[in-house]
Symmetry: C2
Subunit: 342 residues, 2 copies
DNA sequence: TCGATTTGTGCAAACGTATTTACAAACTCT
DNA sequence: AGAGTTTGTAAATACGTTTGCACAAATCGA
């Protein structure tokens, strides 16, 4: 049988309530009693029962998450791992744990959230991704339950952390311009995603600001897949009048481009310079190493966790949308070779 | 105020205990009552309070995990993500959730586990990695608390899931032999790790079984790092009498080798054939794509979760050590070119 | 038809904690 | 010295469940 607060009380010759107060550092407890009780607690190896505690306090000190649906993509995997690391690290520092559960089906995700919320199993929820008109978000709003979204969302009346993708893309494009390029294309993702739209916007803005005319032909849409890059590459390289550099929506797409280029015998960055987004581990390992915008995935998770716990503790956030800074990591794929050698 | 079992009882005109019995499908409840109560539950949007329930039943339906310490390595990240996916998916299917917490320090990990165990916060614990003489394992054994280890461990009196690394390495080596190689080297990891020793053993066994003499000079130790591969490559390629193929302890190490080879103008697999372990996503993307032993990381997590929940439910495992099957994925890095073209 | 069994439900006691109320003892101040 | 205040502790209650026990009603077997 596990040792309870009563056992400690009995052995210390005090009442259970006194022990409870010692635990919660109640001001009106005598130093002497406190010392003695703590001594006994250590001696008996007492740890308070978390379930009992949260039953009465109505707090679980737990953050809930839904396991994202199987995502075989490299970036997704990396994103997931780093995100969780950020979330859990911060949560633990603040005395919170992270609970993960999986919905059995598409519909099951909402069911899982409902169980967590109504069952009072968690104090708040972190959402890793959201579809348009997400029923989970609707539910959480209706219940007025604390939650935060990592990533972007059409509405801006919910708590979320995100990158400034417009600025990030602006920076990427500016970098290429500063390397002497003025013939720059853009390989985008699915056009319905906010991230695609934002990055496209930043690219356009950078061109405009530098008096470079936008060639609409040089903007290609696709998926977050290698194949997309491959296709984009073959499209661009067959153009009679082609760009000398590309801004690419995601590192994984760039890998498709790289493979295609190497098959055709083109060199990077000599024949084509490349900058992309997310700075996955692989970006550094590829040949040539990729220039990439690091979006701070760990940080995204860390912030989300922090903002959510604050929200749970009743603090009013100054703003709903928090931006995690990005950072351009320059590697060989976008270095102006001539400049290096001259 | 949340709706409780009492509210349902009142509205249904029965006692709380009856409602409770309806929820748990007690046999002695009349179909009529059950129907009516369920109706009311739905109507009121009732969900039972998980904390209260687990307080009395002494079950949490939660599996605990400790967040692994920051692991910047690609493989670690991939391993972590896939593992969690496997664990959580299986757990959810069986009605369990997964709780993650982080120790603040080295010592803090044990503290975190203690809190989970003594605080009765989880029903079992999954360990992702273990050092030799791990105090956490010692603690869990002492408390006789259900847990499972993913990976290998010196002792074999604890529940664990692992790969058959000897056989896996044997298979990798046999594959190279079947491609016509008989001059095969081995790039190992840290010699104190069981995984290194096991894979080395499998390699040796394959050579012996095929009457190939082991060149001790062709076995190199290192780390799970790119640099290790780079060093190994330069060592091997400078040998007057060098191997035509290598078995490599980890894909990440192979990347180091690849980079080195391409710098020196060597071709894979023509000048050197390669097979390694873990089959990370990147293995497929590299040029050339790598042959690799897939160790079934998702499966490892899935099995661990399954065995642990069974153990929790009192089932006696047939054996303590469970082997997850591996699978050789052949790609260009080990294909005998001549054979393909002739 | 009547005792024995089965069936359906309520009552009350737990689970381990936090918290409110109460109260005695020990101070403070004039 | 006595009223008022502060300090330290205990008793009781509540949190939302589950479950053993009790018991009336219904069913059964002869």
């Amino acid at each position: 049988m596990a040792v309870t607060i009563k056992d400690v009380a009995r052995k210390a010759g005090v009442s259970p309530s006194t022990v409870s107060r010692v635990i919660s550092n109640h001001p009106r407890i005598s130093p002497e009693t406190s010392r003695r009780v703590k001594e006994i607690m250590k001696q008996l190896g007492y740890h308070s029962n978390i379930m009992a505690r949260s039953l009465v306090s109505n707090k679980t000190f737990t953050l809930g998450m839904i396991l994202p649906r199987p995502a075989e993509e490299l970036f997704q995997n990396h994103f997931f791992a780093e995100n969780i690391r950020g979330i859990t690290t911060q949560a633990s520092r603040n005395g919170y744990d992270v609970l993960m559960t999986a919905g059995h089906s598409e519909h099951g995700e909402l069911e899982a959230v409902t169980r967590l919320v109504k069952g009072k199993r968690v104090d708040g929820i972190i959402l890793l991704q959201s579809r348009k008109d997400d029923p989970i978000i609707a539910f959480l709003k209706k219940e007025d339950f604390p939650f935060i979204l990592i990533g972007n969302y059409g509405d801006n009346d919910i708590l979320c952390v995100d990158n400034d993708n417009v600025q990030a893309s602006y920076d990427a494009t500016m970098h290429l311009i500063s390397q002497g390029h003025h013939r720059i294309g853009f390989v985008s993702g699915p056009p319905n995603l906010t991230v695609s739209r934002d990055r496209l916007e930043g690219y356009k803005k950078a061109l405009t600001d530098n008096g470079i005319r936008l060639e609409t032909e040089w903007v290609m849409e696709g998926e977050f897949l290698q194949e997309s890059g491959y296709r984009a590459m073959s499209f661009f390289m067959n153009l009679p009048d082609r760009p000398t550099a590309l801004v690419v929506i995601d590192d994984i797409v760039t890998f498709g481009i790289l493979r295609g280029l190497s098959e055709l015998g083109y060199k990077v960055p000599d024949d084509l310079s490349l900058v992309s987004f997310n700075n996955i581990y692989l970006a550094e390992l590829s040949s040539p190493p990729l220039s990439s915008i690091d979006i701070g995935i760990y940080q995204l998770g860390y912030m989300a966790s922090q903002l959510l716990t604050r929200r749970i503790q009743g603090e009013k956030p100054q703003q709903l949308r928090t931006i995690v800074p990005h950072r351009l990591v320059v590697r060989e794929s976008s270095l102006n070779i001539k400049r290096n050698w001259s």
